[in-house]
Symmetry: C2
Subunit: 554 residues, 2 copies
């Protein structure tokens, strides 16, 4: 049933990029406006068995896009509008590369789409929270994933040249769904009428010109002669609305350069140890050490070595590598090591200066990394042991876990603590805090817990419902070992589906709809013979043969 491609690529994926070395994008700056221009190198794919024609993309192209958006936020506080366009003539972007998809394993396709979804949601996050506005300047054809990238922007401007159209040709041409939130954003974000969306999503050639505006698929069309000027006008107009600082210096994000071996990934504050036989990865996050800055100026001086930024950049990188490079490590055991009071002191600084642009960026980045953990299809158990620092921001790791175990040993102090960071800045994709999600059945306790200044010992944490279990020192080893072993023995697919349903109780948002409803349907379609079978539409695309379907509806 799996298609030919390998479960993991021959060489592990590396997620570190620098703008000077981008292969596929040109990032330029002009006052408050950045231009991110797509110019995909055909022979620059992550694997050699496909060519990235017509600005089609693979994971490598999207890693650069994610890097660019991240750097604009941290390194260029003066930027207020980002114009996303193409350097190719009459082509904006042809979407995800079909030959790459065809040659990829199911797990690769799913993880590829998850990452590209996270990148687009990061664009929307920057718009919602960081005073950045994004304009998709569609200077040519814009198909599939190309249009989905445009949908993630605040405004979509399309050139009116009689030819350039927006389209979602996945269903009519490939027998799959648009993989990056396209259907959801068409009806839920742009609020295209559902019958028009139905037509749009089944017409391979797409919709262009005035009709694209009338159907709400784009915000405006402009003739070729005026296109650049109109884009510049809108970029300038949107820039004037921003609260980004005009004269502050940015913070440079330097390479993380972890030490990667067959048994571990080692960063400065994060390490991940692999137990391949048990199919377990143990993630240990070290809390802040030594004196920490207490002002934005001090934080800026510390740069990317400031503990919260460094720790969560490392955690983010580690999660991505685990997803793509270590698919069989099905259980993540999360631990922390450090000082509860010191961790809370950093939270106090983040909270005191949360309106400062850089502190704001750091908090939203921590939030996005925690969402990445929520969306990682591995079972997550938090182990809370003496000398750990599951406090405030780091306690979110325990709240994100499927279960938490806290050692209750009368001879060794072991505490957890909450901070204001648990009360709002780090919301999940369902729009709630992790505490609110945890206590949906007893919502009144959230405010009470947040008012509790003192740390919780194991008995108090268990009583408050903040941890799942608190075994004593006699039971600890066996109880934890048995739980981890039992988990690792279960069907990985059933666990993925179960966790995707249990982790996001409460309200649904466009984001949870994309990862829940849309992604799940897409995963299903991606394994069906009508798509990936010998005569499936994805398999047949670009060949002489036409697809042959089993027409039974399901």
């Amino acid at each position: 049933m799996e298609t030919a491609g390998p479960a993991a690529p021959p060489t592990p994926v590396d997620f570190e990029r620098t703008p000077e070395a981008y292969q596929h994008w040109r990032l330029s700056f002009d006052g408050p406006v950045a231009t991110l221009a797509m110019d995909v190198q055909e022979d620059g794919g992550l694997r050699p068995d496909y060519r990235l024609k017509l600005n089609s993309y693979d994971l490598g192209v999207d890693i650069e896009l994610a890097d660019a958006v991240q750097r604009i936020r941290f390194e260029h506080p003066e930027i207020r509008t980002v114009v996303i366009t193409s350097l190719k003539e009459r082509v904006f972007c042809a979407g995800a590369n079909i030959f790459m998809l065809r040659g990829s394993s199911h797990a690769w396709k799913v993880n590829f789409c998850k990452f590209t979804n996270e990148t687009r949601l990061a664009i929307e996050d920057a718009s919602a929270h960081s005073g950045l506005r994004f304009i998709a300047a569609l200077n040519g054809i814009c198909a599939g994933g190309g249009y989905e990238l445009a949908l993630a922007c605040d405004e979509i401007l399309l050139v009116d040249d009689g030819n350039s159209a927006v389209s979602l040709p996945e269903t009519p041409l490939l027998g799959v769904l648009p993989g990056t939130g396209g259907l959801t954003r068409v009806v839920d974000k742009r609020k295209v009428r559902r019958d028009l969306a139905d037509v749009f999503s089944t017409v391979a050639e797409g919709i262009k010109g005035r009709r694209a505006v009338e159907w709400r698929l784009v915000d405006a069309v402009h003739p070729t002669s005026q296109f650049k000027e109109k884009v510049a006008q809108r970029a300038s107009a949107l820039a004037s609305l921003s609260d980004r600082p005009a004269k502050e210096s940015g913070l440079l994000l330097k390479p993380l350069s972890p030490g990667i071996s067959d048994s571990a990934m080692v960063y400065s504050t994060v390490r991940v140890d692999f137990d391949r036989r048990a199919r377990v990865a143990t993630v240990i996050v070290t809390g802040p050490e030594g004196p920490q800055p207490s002002t934005p100026a001090g934080i800026l001086a510390r740069g990317d070595q400031y503990w919260p930024l460094r720790a969560f950049r490392e955690l983010d990188d580690a999660l991505l590598r685990l997803r793509f490079n270590e698919p069989t490590l099905g259980t993540l055991i999360v631990k922390t090591h450090g000082d509860v009071a010191g961790t809370l002191a950093v939270d106090a600084v983040l909270l005191a200066h949360q309106r400062h642009w850089l502190v704001r960026e750091i908090a939203h980045f921590i939030k996005r990394t925690l969402k990445r953990l929520d969306l990682t299809s591995r079972s997550v158990f938090a182990l809370i042991e003496p000398d750990s620092c599951f406090a405030g921001t780091l306690f979110e790791l325990a709240l994100a876990a499927d279960r938490s175990y806290m050692l209750d040993d009368p001879d060794r102090a072991n505490t957890i603590a909450l901070s204001g960071m648990n009360g709002g800045p780090l919301r999940m994709s369902n729009g709630l805090t992790r505490l609110e999600t945890r206590f949906l059945g007893t919502p009144g306790v959230v405010a009470e817990l947040l008012e509790e200044a003192a740390p919780f010992d194991p008995a108090a944490a268990l009583d408050a419902g903040l941890v799942s279990f608190a075994p004593d020192e006699l039971d600890w080893d066996d109880e934890v070992r048995l739980a981890v072993e039992a988990r690792a023995a279960l069907s990985p697919d059933a666990l993925t589906g179960m966790e995707a349903n249990l982790r996001f109780a409460g309200p649904e948002t466009m984001e949870t709809k994309i990862f829940g409803r849309l992604t799940a349907w897409q995963n299903w379609i991606f394994v069906r013979p009508n798509a990936v079978g010998e005569k499936g539409a994805l398999t047949s695309y670009g060949s002489q043969s036409r697809p042959e379907f089993d027409f039974g509806r399901t």
Copy 2:
């Protein structure tokens, strides 16, 4: 990839049942309390290749359950509480029959789960809107689908006999998800803490006794000696809260007895013609004819022959038969035939008496049938032609369609019309009306349209956004033919996923979460080798061999 079972059963499924002929349930009445007792006949399955041991169920068992709930609503207005229990000793229900699932095609499994979900949601609908309360009286073990049935009830009472537990063993035992909303209801309806839900959903033996109460999995446990008395007390207490009438007579639902052939299904007000070559079924609903009652007493006298009830019972039955018995008829063309004014007159009666118990039941039944259409995985095109009556309630059929085409022929009058029935009584599972869902982008127009008393001609309907296209008489045949042909050529799986995403824009509810998020993940898992492959968990269950998994996480 598909498992061994046939796509459709050897004999077509018939959805008509009468209580006297129930094989698997005993329905009894005692004042305001009905008892619906499960007593599944082991050899009473729809197919001979499995035995329904331990009150496990197949589609046939659930058809009787759906029938019973429906009849209590219409035939027994005096009933206020329904106790769902079992006649088997120490067994409430073991859930969906695993050997039935293993022997069924993917499409059958999906449609089976969809129907059982609709049955459980109908129970919740009766609780929310009809003054009925449901008590799950769990007098023995309650596993999987058995617990999911309990979750659909208002209260769950479990016997405390040291043995009886509630459980969702699907993930640990079978490598699939609970198929009938279990995970969603555990965290979203009962608001079980997500880490406890995680433990519960991975422990095959389940949770019993006090812990089941503490974790919110059940509302109370009672020792065997007191169990019947406690159930009776709660039934009586809940009955006292109801607004159901004490002394009204019910309305008998007589068999529909359609004429079914290889080319059509013919009812009194609905007919469905099959074009197997084109893979199209044309559904024609005939509007009211002759004088219609204008009072509840007149409606009761007309009985189940009252037009709205008759028409929607027939449509409901036709949709179910299409789903299970005609899987390759991928496009439904919906037409109506009748008089716009006469159809609106019936709506006026339904609206004028909407607080009467019977009128209320009729409106909610129409609502459920329209939801059944929304959830039917076939492309739906409405064709609005002269002599049609897409007015008010019947216009909901056009709003439920993926697209609508309205003939604009200056020589032949052709109109649509709205009524108050489009303004609230027939809400979709997302909690919005179909007009609100259609006009998410321009919400202000909904109230304006509802105030428009006059019918809309094709130009006005198109201008108002109420129809997708209004071709003239020269273009009509070609445009409609090409649209239907193009639709029938697309991948049926991609269409199912696309429609599931485009039809339910706007807010999500527990109901849309069950059908969107949960069902989609389940469908995916149901086709994965880890479940249904040669060594998958579902395949291996009950045999000597243990499942072997591909442990790559996706």
